[in-house]
Protein backbone atom coordinates (compact mmCIF):
# COMPACT_ATOMS: atom_id res chain seq x y z
CA UNK A 1 0.00 0.00 0.00
CA UNK A 2 1.54 3.27 -1.15
CA UNK A 3 1.90 6.27 1.16
CA UNK A 4 -0.66 8.43 -0.71
CA UNK A 5 -3.07 5.51 -0.54
CA UNK A 6 -2.67 5.25 3.25
CA UNK A 7 -3.19 9.00 3.58
CA UNK A 8 -6.33 8.88 1.42
CA UNK A 9 -7.81 6.02 3.45
CA UNK A 10 -7.06 7.83 6.73
CA UNK A 11 -8.75 11.02 5.49
CA UNK A 12 -11.77 9.06 4.21
CA UNK A 13 -12.20 7.26 7.55
CA UNK A 14 -11.96 10.51 9.56
CA UNK A 15 -14.44 12.32 7.29
CA UNK A 16 -16.85 9.35 7.34
CA UNK A 17 -16.60 9.15 11.13
CA UNK A 18 -17.25 12.88 11.61
CA UNK A 19 -20.19 12.83 9.19
CA UNK A 20 -21.64 9.74 10.81
CA UNK A 21 -21.74 11.01 14.42
CA UNK A 22 -22.59 14.65 13.74
CA UNK A 23 -24.90 14.41 10.74
CA UNK A 24 -26.15 10.93 9.75
CA UNK A 25 -27.05 9.87 13.31
CA UNK A 26 -29.05 13.09 13.78
CA UNK A 27 -31.21 12.55 10.71
CA UNK A 28 -34.75 11.76 11.81
CA UNK A 29 -34.59 8.25 10.32
CA UNK A 30 -36.27 5.31 12.04
CA UNK A 31 -34.12 2.37 13.14
CA UNK A 32 -30.44 2.17 12.25
CA UNK A 33 -27.93 4.90 11.36
CA UNK A 34 -26.53 4.88 7.80
CA UNK A 35 -23.08 3.34 8.35
CA UNK A 36 -20.70 5.45 6.26
CA UNK A 37 -17.60 4.10 8.05
CA UNK A 38 -18.61 0.55 7.10
CA UNK A 39 -19.02 1.63 3.46
CA UNK A 40 -15.55 3.24 3.40
CA UNK A 41 -14.07 -0.02 4.75
CA UNK A 42 -15.95 -2.14 2.19
CA UNK A 43 -15.05 0.13 -0.74
CA UNK A 44 -11.37 0.29 0.27
CA UNK A 45 -11.31 -3.51 0.58
CA UNK A 46 -12.96 -3.94 -2.83
CA UNK A 47 -10.28 -1.82 -4.48
CA UNK A 48 -7.28 -3.00 -2.43
CA UNK A 49 -7.93 -6.64 -1.58
CA UNK A 50 -8.10 -8.63 1.69
CA UNK A 51 -4.90 -7.32 3.34
CA UNK A 52 -5.77 -3.68 2.73
CA UNK A 53 -9.35 -4.47 3.76
CA UNK A 54 -8.53 -6.01 7.11
CA UNK A 55 -5.99 -3.30 8.01
CA UNK A 56 -8.47 -0.54 7.12
CA UNK A 57 -11.23 -2.35 8.97
CA UNK A 58 -9.15 -2.68 12.12
CA UNK A 59 -8.08 0.98 12.08
CA UNK A 60 -11.58 2.32 11.31
CA UNK A 61 -13.14 0.03 13.91
CA UNK A 62 -10.68 1.13 16.58
CA UNK A 63 -11.48 4.77 15.76
CA UNK A 64 -15.21 4.01 16.03
CA UNK A 65 -14.56 2.40 19.43
CA UNK A 66 -12.60 5.36 20.81
CA UNK A 67 -14.20 8.50 19.37
CA UNK A 68 -16.89 10.13 21.56
CA UNK A 69 -19.74 9.38 22.22
CA UNK A 70 -18.63 5.71 22.07
CA UNK A 71 -19.40 3.96 25.34
CA UNK A 72 -18.91 0.26 24.58
CA UNK A 73 -15.84 -1.92 25.10
CA UNK A 74 -12.87 -0.85 22.97
CA UNK A 75 -12.24 -3.45 20.26
CA UNK A 76 -15.82 -4.43 19.46
CA UNK A 77 -16.09 -2.51 16.19
CA UNK A 78 -12.41 -3.24 15.46
CA UNK A 79 -13.17 -6.96 15.60
CA UNK A 80 -16.29 -6.64 13.43
CA UNK A 81 -14.78 -4.36 10.78
CA UNK A 82 -11.56 -6.43 10.53
CA UNK A 83 -13.71 -9.41 9.52
CA UNK A 84 -15.85 -7.25 7.19
CA UNK A 85 -12.75 -5.74 5.53
CA UNK A 86 -11.10 -9.13 5.02
CA UNK A 87 -14.18 -10.86 3.58
CA UNK A 88 -15.03 -7.87 1.32
CA UNK A 89 -11.45 -7.89 0.04
CA UNK A 90 -11.77 -11.52 -1.02
CA UNK A 91 -14.31 -10.46 -3.65
CA UNK A 92 -11.89 -7.93 -5.21
CA UNK A 93 -11.55 -9.78 -8.56
CA UNK A 94 -15.25 -10.63 -8.89
CA UNK A 95 -16.38 -7.09 -8.05
CA UNK A 96 -14.31 -5.71 -10.95
CA UNK A 97 -16.16 -7.92 -13.41
CA UNK A 98 -19.68 -7.09 -12.30
CA UNK A 99 -21.38 -4.06 -10.76
CA UNK A 100 -23.79 -6.40 -8.99
CA UNK A 101 -21.15 -7.98 -6.73
CA UNK A 102 -20.32 -4.79 -4.71
CA UNK A 103 -24.04 -4.38 -4.02
CA UNK A 104 -24.29 -7.90 -2.62
CA UNK A 105 -21.10 -7.35 -0.59
CA UNK A 106 -22.51 -4.12 0.93
CA UNK A 107 -25.81 -5.82 1.78
CA UNK A 108 -23.99 -8.75 3.41
CA UNK A 109 -21.67 -6.35 5.28
CA UNK A 110 -24.60 -4.26 6.58
CA UNK A 111 -26.46 -7.29 7.97
CA UNK A 112 -23.30 -9.16 9.02
CA UNK A 113 -21.82 -6.22 10.93
CA UNK A 114 -24.98 -5.65 12.99
CA UNK A 115 -25.29 -9.38 13.78
CA UNK A 116 -21.60 -9.81 14.65
CA UNK A 117 -21.50 -6.67 16.82
CA UNK A 118 -24.69 -7.75 18.62
CA UNK A 119 -23.29 -11.28 18.97
CA UNK A 120 -20.15 -10.02 20.71
CA UNK A 121 -22.41 -7.86 22.91
CA UNK A 122 -24.54 -10.87 23.82
CA UNK A 123 -21.41 -12.81 24.83
CA UNK A 124 -20.42 -9.88 27.08
CA UNK A 125 -23.93 -9.72 28.64
CA UNK A 126 -24.58 -6.23 27.23
CA UNK A 127 -28.08 -5.40 28.58
CA UNK A 128 -28.76 -3.17 25.54
CA UNK A 129 -28.55 -6.07 23.07
CA UNK A 130 -31.96 -7.68 22.81
CA UNK A 131 -33.38 -9.76 20.00
CA UNK A 132 -36.10 -7.19 19.32
CA UNK A 133 -33.53 -4.38 19.16
CA UNK A 134 -31.51 -6.38 16.59
CA UNK A 135 -34.52 -7.20 14.42
CA UNK A 136 -35.53 -3.50 14.57
CA UNK A 137 -32.12 -2.48 13.26
CA UNK A 138 -31.50 -5.08 10.54
CA UNK A 139 -33.99 -4.06 7.78
CA UNK A 140 -33.28 -0.32 8.10
CA UNK A 141 -29.49 -0.89 8.26
CA UNK A 142 -29.72 -2.94 5.07
CA UNK A 143 -31.80 -0.36 3.19
CA UNK A 144 -29.81 2.74 4.29
CA UNK A 145 -26.41 1.16 3.64
CA UNK A 146 -27.34 -0.17 0.19
CA UNK A 147 -28.83 3.19 -0.85
CA UNK A 148 -25.87 5.17 0.53
CA UNK A 149 -23.40 2.75 -1.10
CA UNK A 150 -24.69 3.75 -4.54
CA UNK A 151 -22.95 7.10 -3.96
CA UNK A 152 -20.22 6.30 -1.44
CA UNK A 153 -18.66 3.15 -2.97
CA UNK A 154 -18.10 4.53 -6.54
CA UNK A 155 -16.70 7.76 -5.03
CA UNK A 156 -14.17 5.87 -2.87
CA UNK A 157 -13.24 3.56 -5.77
CA UNK A 158 -12.67 6.53 -8.11
CA UNK A 159 -10.52 8.35 -5.53
CA UNK A 160 -8.42 5.23 -4.89
CA UNK A 161 -7.86 4.68 -8.63
CA UNK A 162 -6.78 8.26 -9.05
CA UNK A 163 -4.32 8.13 -6.15
CA UNK A 164 -2.88 4.78 -7.35
CA UNK A 165 -2.58 6.14 -10.86
CA UNK A 166 -0.64 9.20 -9.69
CA UNK A 167 1.62 6.98 -7.60
CA UNK A 168 2.41 4.88 -10.69
CA UNK A 169 3.15 7.98 -12.79
CA UNK A 170 5.73 9.11 -10.30
Amino acid sequence: MSAPRVALTAVLVVVALALQVTFLSRLPLPGATPDLVLLVVVATALSGGPTVGLLTGFAAGLALDLVPPADHEVGRWALVLTVVGYLSGLTQVESRRSAFVPLVVVAAAAVGSVLLYAGVGALLDDPNVTWSAVTDLLPTALVYDVVLSAFAVPAVLALSRRVEHEAVLR
Partner: protein, 312 residues
Protein backbone atom coordinates in the same frame (compact mmCIF):
# COMPACT_ATOMS: atom_id res chain seq x y z
CA UNK B 1 -0.25 -7.72 -1.52
CA UNK B 2 -3.62 -8.02 -3.16
CA UNK B 3 -3.95 -11.79 -2.87
CA UNK B 4 -5.21 -13.82 0.05
CA UNK B 5 -1.84 -15.21 1.06
CA UNK B 6 -0.57 -16.96 4.17
CA UNK B 7 0.73 -13.60 5.35
CA UNK B 8 -2.76 -12.08 5.08
CA UNK B 9 -4.24 -14.86 7.19
CA UNK B 10 -1.55 -14.44 9.86
CA UNK B 11 -2.28 -10.71 9.92
CA UNK B 12 -6.02 -11.41 10.16
CA UNK B 13 -5.51 -13.77 13.09
CA UNK B 14 -3.20 -11.26 14.79
CA UNK B 15 -5.68 -8.35 14.52
CA UNK B 16 -8.64 -10.50 15.60
CA UNK B 17 -6.73 -11.67 18.68
CA UNK B 18 -5.76 -8.05 19.42
CA UNK B 19 -9.41 -6.93 19.16
CA UNK B 20 -10.65 -9.72 21.40
CA UNK B 21 -7.90 -8.96 23.93
CA UNK B 22 -8.89 -5.26 23.96
CA UNK B 23 -12.57 -6.12 24.41
CA UNK B 24 -11.81 -8.48 27.29
CA UNK B 25 -9.43 -6.05 29.04
CA UNK B 26 -11.95 -3.21 28.73
CA UNK B 27 -14.88 -5.42 29.78
CA UNK B 28 -13.14 -6.86 32.85
CA UNK B 29 -11.90 -3.53 34.12
CA UNK B 30 -15.36 -1.88 33.81
CA UNK B 31 -14.84 1.33 35.79
CA UNK B 32 -11.09 1.88 35.81
CA UNK B 33 -10.00 0.56 32.47
CA UNK B 34 -6.36 0.93 31.36
CA UNK B 35 -7.86 2.00 28.03
CA UNK B 36 -9.52 5.10 29.57
CA UNK B 37 -6.35 7.07 28.85
CA UNK B 38 -6.58 6.21 25.17
CA UNK B 39 -10.29 7.13 25.22
CA UNK B 40 -9.47 10.49 26.79
CA UNK B 41 -6.80 11.17 24.17
CA UNK B 42 -9.25 10.27 21.38
CA UNK B 43 -11.82 12.67 22.88
CA UNK B 44 -9.21 15.44 23.11
CA UNK B 45 -8.22 14.97 19.46
CA UNK B 46 -11.55 14.20 17.84
CA UNK B 47 -13.78 16.41 20.03
CA UNK B 48 -12.78 19.62 18.22
CA UNK B 49 -13.21 17.82 14.86
CA UNK B 50 -16.77 16.96 15.89
CA UNK B 51 -17.41 20.57 16.95
CA UNK B 52 -16.34 21.82 13.54
CA UNK B 53 -18.30 19.12 11.71
CA UNK B 54 -21.42 19.87 13.77
CA UNK B 55 -21.09 23.57 13.00
CA UNK B 56 -20.93 22.83 9.27
CA UNK B 57 -23.59 20.13 9.21
CA UNK B 58 -25.97 22.30 11.24
CA UNK B 59 -28.58 24.47 9.58
CA UNK B 60 -26.68 25.91 6.61
CA UNK B 61 -28.42 28.95 5.23
CA UNK B 62 -27.96 29.85 1.62
CA UNK B 63 -25.75 32.78 0.89
CA UNK B 64 -27.80 35.29 -0.98
CA UNK B 65 -26.10 37.75 -3.26
CA UNK B 66 -26.82 41.21 -1.96
CA UNK B 67 -25.95 43.13 -5.06
CA UNK B 68 -28.26 42.89 -8.03
CA UNK B 69 -28.55 45.27 -10.90
CA UNK B 70 -31.80 47.10 -11.58
CA UNK B 71 -32.59 47.31 -15.24
CA UNK B 72 -35.27 45.66 -17.30
CA UNK B 73 -38.27 43.77 -15.93
CA UNK B 74 -36.52 40.42 -15.80
CA UNK B 75 -33.87 41.91 -13.55
CA UNK B 76 -36.54 43.56 -11.42
CA UNK B 77 -38.40 40.27 -10.99
CA UNK B 78 -35.12 38.56 -10.19
CA UNK B 79 -34.23 41.24 -7.65
CA UNK B 80 -37.61 40.98 -5.92
CA UNK B 81 -37.41 37.20 -5.89
CA UNK B 82 -34.03 37.37 -4.22
CA UNK B 83 -35.30 39.96 -1.76
CA UNK B 84 -38.22 37.68 -0.96
CA UNK B 85 -35.88 34.74 -0.37
CA UNK B 86 -33.67 36.89 1.80
CA UNK B 87 -36.62 37.98 3.94
CA UNK B 88 -37.96 34.43 4.21
CA UNK B 89 -34.52 33.29 5.29
CA UNK B 90 -34.31 36.06 7.89
CA UNK B 91 -37.75 35.11 9.16
CA UNK B 92 -36.73 31.47 9.46
CA UNK B 93 -33.47 32.19 11.26
CA UNK B 94 -35.38 34.60 13.49
CA UNK B 95 -37.70 31.76 14.41
CA UNK B 96 -34.70 29.54 15.09
CA UNK B 97 -33.21 32.21 17.37
CA UNK B 98 -36.50 32.66 19.21
CA UNK B 99 -36.71 28.89 19.58
CA UNK B 100 -33.18 28.82 21.05
CA UNK B 101 -34.03 31.69 23.38
CA UNK B 102 -37.16 29.89 24.58
CA UNK B 103 -35.13 26.71 25.21
CA UNK B 104 -32.53 28.67 27.17
CA UNK B 105 -35.33 30.41 29.10
CA UNK B 106 -36.92 27.18 30.21
CA UNK B 107 -33.50 25.74 31.06
CA UNK B 108 -32.69 28.76 33.22
CA UNK B 109 -36.14 28.58 34.76
CA UNK B 110 -35.51 25.00 35.93
CA UNK B 111 -32.09 26.09 37.13
CA UNK B 112 -33.58 29.02 39.05
CA UNK B 113 -36.37 27.05 40.73
CA UNK B 114 -34.06 24.22 41.70
CA UNK B 115 -31.14 26.55 42.46
CA UNK B 116 -28.72 24.45 40.42
CA UNK B 117 -25.69 26.05 38.83
CA UNK B 118 -25.82 24.94 35.21
CA UNK B 119 -23.33 25.07 32.35
CA UNK B 120 -25.25 25.20 29.04
CA UNK B 121 -24.04 22.95 26.22
CA UNK B 122 -25.06 21.90 22.75
CA UNK B 123 -25.44 18.28 21.62
CA UNK B 124 -22.94 17.90 18.77
CA UNK B 125 -22.76 14.15 18.10
CA UNK B 126 -24.90 11.09 18.63
CA UNK B 127 -23.72 7.47 18.63
CA UNK B 128 -24.89 5.16 15.84
CA UNK B 129 -27.95 3.07 16.67
CA UNK B 130 -25.94 -0.02 15.70
CA UNK B 131 -23.67 0.49 18.71
CA UNK B 132 -26.61 -0.27 21.03
CA UNK B 133 -25.75 2.51 23.45
CA UNK B 134 -27.65 5.70 24.10
CA UNK B 135 -24.92 8.30 24.40
CA UNK B 136 -24.40 11.79 22.99
CA UNK B 137 -21.44 14.18 22.86
CA UNK B 138 -21.88 17.74 24.17
CA UNK B 139 -19.62 20.71 23.45
CA UNK B 140 -18.61 21.40 27.05
CA UNK B 141 -15.75 19.66 28.81
CA UNK B 142 -13.35 19.88 31.74
CA UNK B 143 -12.37 23.42 30.62
CA UNK B 144 -15.96 24.49 31.34
CA UNK B 145 -15.98 22.75 34.71
CA UNK B 146 -17.72 19.59 33.52
CA UNK B 147 -16.58 16.39 35.25
CA UNK B 148 -17.66 12.76 35.08
CA UNK B 149 -20.83 11.83 37.00
CA UNK B 150 -22.53 15.22 36.81
CA UNK B 151 -26.27 15.51 36.18
CA UNK B 152 -27.37 16.62 32.71
CA UNK B 153 -30.81 18.20 32.25
CA UNK B 154 -32.70 20.38 29.82
CA UNK B 155 -35.69 22.68 30.15
CA UNK B 156 -38.05 19.71 30.38
CA UNK B 157 -36.22 17.53 32.88
CA UNK B 158 -33.56 14.89 33.36
CA UNK B 159 -31.41 14.00 30.32
CA UNK B 160 -28.76 11.76 31.90
CA UNK B 161 -25.33 11.95 33.43
CA UNK B 162 -21.82 12.73 32.23
CA UNK B 163 -20.01 9.47 31.56
CA UNK B 164 -16.61 10.80 30.54
CA UNK B 165 -15.32 14.35 30.10
CA UNK B 166 -12.64 15.46 27.66
CA UNK B 167 -11.06 18.93 27.53
CA UNK B 168 -13.69 20.49 25.23
CA UNK B 169 -16.35 17.78 24.93
CA UNK B 170 -18.10 15.31 27.21
CA UNK B 171 -20.02 12.08 26.65
CA UNK B 172 -23.46 11.88 28.24
CA UNK B 173 -25.17 8.58 29.08
CA UNK B 174 -28.89 9.19 28.46
CA UNK B 175 -31.50 8.08 30.98
CA UNK B 176 -33.06 5.81 28.30
CA UNK B 177 -29.90 3.65 28.13
CA UNK B 178 -30.60 0.26 29.76
CA UNK B 179 -27.36 0.69 31.74
CA UNK B 180 -28.69 3.88 33.27
CA UNK B 181 -30.45 3.58 36.62
CA UNK B 182 -31.88 6.67 38.32
CA UNK B 183 -33.18 6.93 41.90
CA UNK B 184 -36.54 8.68 41.85
CA UNK B 185 -39.23 9.87 44.25
CA UNK B 186 -42.94 10.09 43.61
CA UNK B 187 -44.35 13.59 43.66
CA UNK B 188 -45.86 14.53 47.01
CA UNK B 189 -45.19 11.25 48.79
CA UNK B 190 -41.80 10.09 49.98
CA UNK B 191 -42.00 6.82 48.02
CA UNK B 192 -38.72 5.98 46.34
CA UNK B 193 -37.79 3.74 43.45
CA UNK B 194 -35.53 3.34 40.47
CA UNK B 195 -36.04 3.94 36.78
CA UNK B 196 -34.04 2.07 34.17
CA UNK B 197 -33.96 2.78 30.44
CA UNK B 198 -35.46 0.46 27.86
CA UNK B 199 -33.36 1.54 24.90
CA UNK B 200 -35.11 1.66 21.57
CA UNK B 201 -37.92 -0.64 22.69
CA UNK B 202 -41.19 1.00 23.61
CA UNK B 203 -40.44 4.53 22.30
CA UNK B 204 -37.90 5.61 24.86
CA UNK B 205 -40.02 4.87 27.91
CA UNK B 206 -38.46 4.15 31.32
CA UNK B 207 -39.17 1.27 33.71
CA UNK B 208 -40.05 2.32 37.25
CA UNK B 209 -39.49 -0.06 40.14
CA UNK B 210 -40.71 1.06 43.57
CA UNK B 211 -38.76 -0.30 46.53
CA UNK B 212 -41.75 -0.71 48.84
CA UNK B 213 -44.24 -3.33 47.65
CA UNK B 214 -46.99 -1.75 49.76
CA UNK B 215 -46.66 1.65 48.15
CA UNK B 216 -48.94 2.64 45.34
CA UNK B 217 -48.30 4.34 42.05
CA UNK B 218 -51.11 5.53 39.80
CA UNK B 219 -51.03 6.59 36.16
CA UNK B 220 -50.33 10.33 36.11
CA UNK B 221 -48.04 10.29 39.15
CA UNK B 222 -45.01 12.44 38.51
CA UNK B 223 -41.41 11.66 39.38
CA UNK B 224 -38.39 13.72 40.40
CA UNK B 225 -34.85 12.48 41.04
CA UNK B 226 -34.23 11.27 44.58
CA UNK B 227 -30.67 12.52 44.62
CA UNK B 228 -27.64 10.28 44.88
CA UNK B 229 -25.21 10.21 47.77
CA UNK B 230 -22.99 13.30 47.56
CA UNK B 231 -25.17 14.54 44.68
CA UNK B 232 -23.26 12.42 42.13
CA UNK B 233 -24.29 11.34 39.62
CA UNK B 234 -27.81 12.71 40.15
CA UNK B 235 -28.75 15.86 42.06
CA UNK B 236 -32.14 15.77 43.83
CA UNK B 237 -35.33 17.29 42.49
CA UNK B 238 -34.90 17.09 38.72
CA UNK B 239 -38.21 16.25 36.96
CA UNK B 240 -37.99 12.80 35.34
CA UNK B 241 -41.39 11.88 33.91
CA UNK B 242 -44.97 10.73 34.39
CA UNK B 243 -46.08 7.20 35.26
CA UNK B 244 -48.25 5.84 32.46
CA UNK B 245 -48.98 2.12 32.81
CA UNK B 246 -48.83 0.40 36.17
CA UNK B 247 -47.89 -3.25 36.26
CA UNK B 248 -47.56 -5.87 38.99
CA UNK B 249 -50.19 -7.36 41.26
CA UNK B 250 -50.64 -6.24 44.87
CA UNK B 251 -48.57 -8.35 47.25
CA UNK B 252 -45.61 -8.71 44.95
CA UNK B 253 -42.20 -7.65 46.25
CA UNK B 254 -41.88 -4.54 44.12
CA UNK B 255 -44.24 -2.30 42.19
CA UNK B 256 -43.42 -1.53 38.59
CA UNK B 257 -44.71 1.05 36.13
CA UNK B 258 -43.82 2.42 32.72
CA UNK B 259 -42.73 6.06 32.86
CA UNK B 260 -42.99 8.52 30.01
CA UNK B 261 -40.00 10.87 30.36
CA UNK B 262 -40.46 14.66 30.11
CA UNK B 263 -37.45 14.89 27.82
CA UNK B 264 -37.74 13.98 24.13
CA UNK B 265 -34.51 11.99 23.73
CA UNK B 266 -34.73 11.94 19.94
CA UNK B 267 -34.70 15.75 19.67
CA UNK B 268 -32.03 16.81 22.17
CA UNK B 269 -30.40 20.14 21.38
CA UNK B 270 -29.54 22.54 24.19
CA UNK B 271 -28.81 20.87 27.53
CA UNK B 272 -27.31 21.94 30.86
CA UNK B 273 -24.75 20.26 33.08
CA UNK B 274 -25.27 20.78 36.82
CA UNK B 275 -21.85 21.87 38.05
CA UNK B 276 -23.13 22.94 41.45
CA UNK B 277 -26.05 21.08 43.09
CA UNK B 278 -28.77 22.90 45.08
CA UNK B 279 -28.00 23.50 48.74
CA UNK B 280 -31.34 22.12 49.80
CA UNK B 281 -33.43 19.47 48.09
CA UNK B 282 -36.09 21.34 46.05
CA UNK B 283 -38.37 18.26 46.22
CA UNK B 284 -41.01 18.56 43.52
CA UNK B 285 -41.00 22.37 43.34
CA UNK B 286 -39.49 22.21 39.85
CA UNK B 287 -42.26 20.08 38.32
CA UNK B 288 -44.34 21.88 35.70
CA UNK B 289 -47.67 23.17 37.06
CA UNK B 290 -50.30 20.45 37.21
CA UNK B 291 -53.00 20.93 34.57
CA UNK B 292 -56.25 22.17 36.09
CA UNK B 293 -59.06 19.58 36.21
CA UNK B 294 -61.28 21.57 33.85
CA UNK B 295 -58.60 21.33 31.17
CA UNK B 296 -57.73 17.70 31.63
CA UNK B 297 -61.29 16.36 31.76
CA UNK B 298 -63.45 18.05 29.14
CA UNK B 299 -67.10 17.97 30.11
CA UNK B 300 -69.07 15.86 27.64
CA UNK B 301 -71.82 17.70 25.84
CA UNK B 302 -74.85 15.99 24.42
CA UNK B 303 -76.82 17.51 21.63
CA UNK B 304 -80.40 16.36 21.35
CA UNK B 305 -82.14 17.09 18.13
CA UNK B 306 -85.90 17.00 18.21
CA UNK B 307 -87.67 16.89 14.94
CA UNK B 308 -91.25 18.03 14.70
CA UNK B 309 -93.41 15.14 13.74
CA UNK B 310 -91.40 12.50 15.60
CA UNK B 311 -90.69 9.48 13.42
CA UNK B 312 -90.07 9.80 9.77
Amino acid sequence: MNRDTRRTRVLLALLLVTSVALVLIDHRAADESPLDGVRGAAAAVFGPVEQVAAAIAGPVSDAVDGVSSIGDDADEVDRLRRRNEELTRRLRTGELDRNRAAQLDSLLHVAATGRYRVVPAQVIAIGAAQSFSWTVTIDAGTRDGVRADMTVLDGDGLVGRVKTAGPSTATVLLAVDPESSVGVRLEGSMEVGFTTGQGIDDDGALDLRLLDGQSTVAPGDRLVTFGSQGDTPYVPGVPVGVARRVQGSPGSQTRTAVVEPYVDFTALDLVGVVVEPPRTDPRDAVLPPRPTPSESTPRPTVTVTVQPGGRR
